[in-house]
Amino acid sequence: MKRTIIALSLILLVACLFGSTVQASVSIPDEVVEEIKGSIDEARDEFASLRNIVEAALANPDFTTPEAESLFSEAVALAEDGDYPQAMDKLDASLKSVEMKKLAVKTYWTMIAYLICYLCFFGFIAWVLVRSREMERRLKA
């Protein structure tokens, strides 16, 4: 009986020692935990602010693209899974796609505006020259 008690006590002691050693090796210091929490919050904030910018850009139907919308959806899904670095990359790509479309649309309409100006100027010249030629012909006749 005595031996059994001593053996059990020893086993318990060893188990406690083993448990505390394992716990000590697994547990993370509070400062490290706070640091990780802080960086996650920072990534979430960064994501939220970029998300607002991209959402505002996508809200303009003139400049949005299917590619930008799908990249945005992927970014939101990744952020929900907590993968902020990947989500940020997707948001960046989405914003880039919108910016490219914006540049293309603005360039196209600027060219249209210049084309209208040139057509009006040279159309006016052509109209005046045709009428002048007709008048000169009638004068000579």
Partner: protein, 239 residues
């Protein structure tokens, strides 16, 4: 030598001679092309907020200024016509009105594109500058229609001269319309569209000069055609 005779000679001499007009036209076209190249070159910076669409500004504003000058020609020629009934003054007024109408149409169209793809997001914002320019354009559309509707020359000249003077009196309203509020950017006001860097300002000045000169060429061409019209009418009436 009466006015009719001097006009008959006029359309083939001086600034109206075909050779002078041809040279003016070639130089004007080349300068216009060079100006366009300058506007889109790296020398003229891209505006940070509006981007590419701001380049419309280099044609839009000079067209508006040239349009105002064309309406000034209408105003002066109309007063001269009402004072002495000069046929030449009537021809200048007609040419100025047609050119001014075309330039105002350009201002409206380029302004609508700018309005849609810059910060306003709409083709037409119903704001004071747009409305006063539209009103000015419609007055001169009426002027052109009126000219083609009245066949008696003296009556046509008088009615159109009065309308031309009224039309020109609307231009200060257009110029000062931004003071009544609205969204239209103003030059040198520090708001969007007016934040021009040095390179933008120099390109703008060059555009202003070239487009005004090109419009002067268009006006001379149209005046010559008016003189030819008149000579033909005179010839057909006498025969």
């Amino acid at each position: 030598m009466n006015e009719q005779e001097s006009m008959k000679k006029g359309y083939n001499s001086g600034v109206f001679s075909p050779l002078v007009l041809l040279a003016f036209g070639i130089v004007g076209t080349l300068m216009l092309l060079w100006d366009t190249q300058l506007i889109f070159s790296a020398r003229t910076e891209m505006e940070a907020v509006m981007g590419m669409i701001q380049k419309i500004f280099y044609f839009h504003v000079p067209s508006a200024a040239a349009g105002f000058l064309a309406f000034l020609v209408v105003f002066i020629a109309s007063i001269v016509y009402l004072r002495n009934g000069s046929r030449v003054a009537d021809i200048w007024a007609e040419a100025g009105a047609e050119l001014g109408m075309m330039l105002t149409l350009l201002v409206l169209l380029t302004g609508m594109i700018w309005s849609r793809y810059s910060s306003w997001g709409v083709w037409w914002a119903w704001e004071p500058r747009q409305m006063t320019v539209l009103f000015l354009f419609l007055i001169f559309v009426t002027y052109v229609i009126l000219r083609r509707s009245i066949h008696q020359p003296v009556k046509r000249g008088k009615f159109c001269a009065v309308l031309g003077i009224i039309g020109f009196l609307n231009t200060p309203l257009v110029y000062f319309s931004t003071k009544f509020g609205g969204l239209h950017p103003m030059l040198n006001s520090g708001d969007e569209g007016s934040s021009l860097t040095e390179s933008m300002q120099s390109t703008f000045g060059i555009s202003m000069l070239i487009i005004t000169l090109f419009c002067a060429f268009l006006l001379l061409l149209r005046v010559r055609q008016g003189m030819l019209d008149d000579a033909v009418r005179e010839k057909e009436a006498s025969s």
